[in-house]
Symmetry: C2
Subunit: 249 residues, 2 copies
């Protein structure tokens, strides 16, 4: 197994960083790594915003739910789905591109493009010995986040990514059983084996928590997920996304 893969398999989110800011060179490398990711038909339907200003970080931390590591890290990236660029392109070239830009298809393309780029940044950072954490909490309040970041219509900040020198060393979290996530030849939704995979994972997750809390916590994954999903979150999203010009038709 090579070092790139070893790095990936050791991934865990870092939620406490030393105060050292990333150098310009490090930031440049991480952005170039992002740009090297695949992109649908070279459409490059995303943008990256990098935040150094402590006040802006603090504001975004509050909007995301108050996590201290959004304010304190080596650098804070925000990855955006971006079709504003393509609207400008349409105007420059005198072509009507509105129907395309407003399609669910292109919404998916932009979200996928941004995520592929972000994961390159994440893996590149970890390969440099840095830690990372994705900040989906930015989606708690995208109208305000968009104001702070000055994003125009046809741009949606999707998530943040904290990067920095780790000041903690958490353990790797166990994932769903291999055979439950990976199907050979076709999906198998058959309930008995499907639920067996979930029960197996519940045992793994329970042991993980028991060991780490001296027996105080023994959460199951299905319990955690059902609890989380029974409380719908961010239900303003459809209206917001469509208001920004995405996913309309």
């Amino acid at each position: 197994m090579n070092s790139a893969i070893e790095t990936m398999l050791k991934h865990r989110s870092i939620r406490k960083y030393k105060d050292t800011p990333l150098s310009e060179e490090e930031i440049g490398t991480l952005v170039k790594a992002a740009q090297s990711a695949s992109t649908s038909s070279n459409i490059q339907a995303y943008s990256i915003i990098g935040i150094k200003n402590p006040e802006t970080k603090q504001k975004l931390a509050e909007l995301a739910g108050g996590q201290s590591y959004v304010a304190h890290n080596g650098h804070f990236f925000v990855f955006c789905a971006d079709l504003y660029r393509h609207q400008v392109v349409g105007e420059m070239e005198g072509k009507d591109v509105t129907e395309s830009l407003e399609s669910t298809e292109k919404f998916m393309v932009a979200v996928i493009d941004a995520a592929l780029a972000a994961q390159n940044t994440a893996v590149a950072a970890e390969s440099m010995g840095l830690g990372i954490c994705y900040i989906g909490g930015l989606r708690n309040n995208l109208p305000e986040v968009s104001k702070v970041l000055n994003t125009p219509d046809r741009v949606i900040p999707l998530f943040g990514l904290t990067v920095g020198h780790p000041d903690q060393d958490p353990e790797v979290k166990p994932r769903l059983p291999y055979g439950h996530m990976y199907f050979e030849e076709a999906y198998n939704p058959e309930r008995t084996s499907f639920e067996a995979g979930l029960h197996e994972y519940n045992e793994t997750v329970s042991s993980y928590y028991k060991e780490r809390t001296g027996g105080k916590r023994a959460d199951t994954w299905t319990g955690q997920m059902a609890e989380m999903l029974s409380r719908p979150q961010r239900m303003y999203m459809k209206e917001f996304v469509q208001g920004k010009g995405f996913d309309r038709q």
Copy 2:
């Protein structure tokens, strides 16, 4: 610069593979790399389907637009947004999770989760000396692709990923200028500088094509994009996605 980052910066899609199939061990490593990617609140809202059967590959190649490399490669992965698992979880735990699963927010979460996992597979494969190509063409006909792959409601095949031993050595494609993709502190939609970035990229792209075609092609990026986006594609997507139970509210 370390070897993981060097690998990323050298990325280019491979569209011709040797006939050598990936070993079970290689497939296992690539799936485990995928599973190690970050996932929103550990929701793991995706699944991976691996295809070896030449007839299935051939069928998917035809549905995707006839690319020979979808049929001929070392292995073919399909990455799916998956909330079927979470519907089963809701039923197992006796909780109503429908509103969550049907939200635009969770549609985004599932698409992002799948893309992060896929990009780990892509980077892991390239770090092993293999080549990759994303196959967005699967979205040409998702109703048929879903039948071939037996995916139930709440599962959407998002894209394929061909992996294999390269039988070609194409060049790296130039990306948008760094300062056009990466903003410091806030987005800057101001038109003069924004268009300057696009003109700069047009020159880069034109030179790239001129050099490679002995002057026969001199496409600009804005020209290519405006042409592509003026012909809306896959406009059935909204109805399909909602029909599968995603992005409804």
